[in-house]
Symmetry: C3
Subunit: 316 residues, 3 copies
Amino acid sequence: MKHLLSAQDLTQNDIIALLDMADHMAEINTRPVPKVPALRGKTVVSVFFEDSTRTRLSFETAAKRLSADTMTFSASTSSLNKGESLRDTIETLSAMRVDAFVVRHKSSGVPLQITEWTDASVINAGDGWHQHPTQALTDAFTITRSFGTPHTLEGRTIAIVGDVLHSRVARSNIAVLTKLGAKVVLVGPSTLIPIQAQQWPVEILHSLDEVVAEVDVVYMLRMQRERMETAFVPSLGEYTARFGLTPDRVSRMLAHALVMHPGPMNRGIDMVVDPAQVSGSRILQQVTNGIPVRMAVLFTLLGSGGSTALATGADL
Amino acid sequence: MKHLLSAQDLTQNDIIALLDMADHMAEINTRPVPKVPALRGKTVVSVFFEDSTRTRLSFETAAKRLSADTMTFSASTSSLNKGESLRDTIETLSAMRVDAFVVRHKSSGVPLQITEWTDASVINAGDGWHQHPTQALTDAFTITRSFGTPHTLEGRTIAIVGDVLHSRVARSNIAVLTKLGAKVVLVGPSTLIPIQAQQWPVEILHSLDEVVAEVDVVYMLRMQRERMETAFVPSLGEYTARFGLTPDRVSRMLAHALVMHPGPMNRGIDMVVDPAQVSGSRILQQVTNGIPVRMAVLFTLLGSGGSTALATGADL
Amino acid sequence: MKHLLSAQDLTQNDIIALLDMADHMAEINTRPVPKVPALRGKTVVSVFFEDSTRTRLSFETAAKRLSADTMTFSASTSSLNKGESLRDTIETLSAMRVDAFVVRHKSSGVPLQITEWTDASVINAGDGWHQHPTQALTDAFTITRSFGTPHTLEGRTIAIVGDVLHSRVARSNIAVLTKLGAKVVLVGPSTLIPIQAQQWPVEILHSLDEVVAEVDVVYMLRMQRERMETAFVPSLGEYTARFGLTPDRVSRMLAHALVMHPGPMNRGIDMVVDPAQVSGSRILQQVTNGIPVRMAVLFTLLGSGGSTALATGADL
């Protein structure tokens, strides 16, 4: 594995190997000094064309815990402002001997395109509506650890709720969760479920109430206020009434069921309940788990002897 | 001690212990390689909602000299722009296993509020008009070392001059300096001395000339031009005439007296004299001392066995 | 050598010593872990008043490979916005025990002026139209290594093409390349060749076609679109027709001749040919070489026993 561009490229075995590695990394994170020299001398560059403090800090923390050097390329202060092409920018950075690019861009496919311009590994940290594979791996890791079933989701049903149409998180999660054996139900207004979802290995529903009492995980997506302007939903109030996670809906969930959200939450719209009041909430655990999962991805792509370590779980 | 939110929370013994520790840190800073592994594996995150290069770099340098990892959360490029609440932002960062937040915010009380949302230590790096405790510790450290009296200010008189009303530096310094035994005189126009200062353990004067020849330290505050618009002073010229530090006033100071300023200076307004021409100026020394003092604060809050090291001054 | 302000300050011996050191640094960069502890405990601060991702990351990477700590002072978020003078800013940073400032500023002479306000080393990373010495050293290093002639340019002819008037890169390259024995030809419209160039040790031509088939290196300068507004050239199309590097012109170059460009390229204006299609292109190699050259500069200015290491090439 050289790049991580899409959750759809991963086989079930790839996913299990990454989650096994993430277990090992999670143990490292509990040590008094949560650092290992595994990637000493490697350089990881964050190239973020869209703001994302959460994801960028998660990757940087992961890289630092593996002793890699990190640098941030911010599009707003770069030569891109002087008219330099994206290709020239990437080739220039690459010529400084970068080992991995962590890329976020508002256009789908940019991370894939970047692989043609560099010998470095490329990790997709979110591209348009397309993919955000490390989020999906983090979510799968969080669910299987919560249920104590490493690393399978056989027999589990997961509802992904809200604006599926614009969500790279949803697309990535469908790929990872179904490959681990889960049944996925998409829940949202028909305007926010993509037409091609008919061909996906999912069930589609238009009412959260229909499913909230039966699923093992309620995975809430972020509902962006700006969607209102383009009339995907008649009003935010109506959206929240049908698809928001309210205390009442939480009370009808199964006793063991989990609540998840990729963040940032839009309180009062997608999340009406305060997650701190929900015992099944794993929303902060998702953030915590993002670090060992991204450590596992970085080590798998950049570590020498990565595959051996994956197979044996040997000490780093 | 878990947090450092206000100089008013510190006892005389706390202050002396921190300054003793800062002595030790100052020695480390004179070494050829001014670094110790005391906080290896700890993560310190700067969360600055107001710009402050000076304070942020001072904390980051302090953290790096103790071998901590540092990260910067910049409010301007964060999910706060997407409508995420401050609480969700802090909880999210905290879930990545942060050991300390260094917080600056334009509203008083934000650092205290943040302590309710995280298990990490919180250090107030300036909140509104309220407090800036590490500046006050730095200033006390600078004065006592200048006078060779570690760490007491018994018998010393310190004039704090200018816009006390809007100054968190003044409020923090009053707490620290008086606890070390100093007499503090506030000097400024009555519009810029808060009414409640009548209850503080200070003397209040409205003329710098009255006191400049008698005090051990003249501590100049920054006079912000924007105060003019809100009519706190009739004109900047008049303000400078009565409260600016001019060469003439410097010439009337006691031979051993010090000139201090927290920076950034407003030359020609608060500082009319060039500090480079004033032998008693400790303005750059304040910047230098900010690093060992902040190292002492970080180590006291985050170091294992901190209290022992404080007591014995043992090698790190 | 304490500062590096201008390529004109360097003697032939200085240049050769730096390039020898850069050879050593280039070898370090090929190691599995491309890091040495040579500058452990040193602090290098980037002070960039003009954006330049390329140059800033190159210096930061160089500093990190020598194990120095790096910090970035961004003019846009600093106290300069509160009216602090440049001098006070530099003195403040300097008081935190900075070992080197790497400075970029739109005004010529700022790095020189900064040397009066600090005991730290100052490296000019580009000041106005004046100088960019590490770029010129990088270019000389790239040419001599390409030709396998360490470190002389005797008998070589180098054409510098385009907007010489506004180019600090051109000014620095003329100094370094001629000191190593090269003949330099400036090629551009008369409006973009400075009048004083008559006194420089160069030949001046106004047609690229006249010289393209005879020189060892075609060094293209960036043609900035904004120059059009001030009428230095009648139209970009006409500029490109006479001075752009087209496939046709490349086909007439000598078999061994090199194409270089300091970046960022303005494709279709200065570079019409795709450099990836030109076997003699060293444009990405210039970026790669920037790192060992800047490591050599940093180590020469900041390393203890730097001169010894220069003389003996001993292991760091």
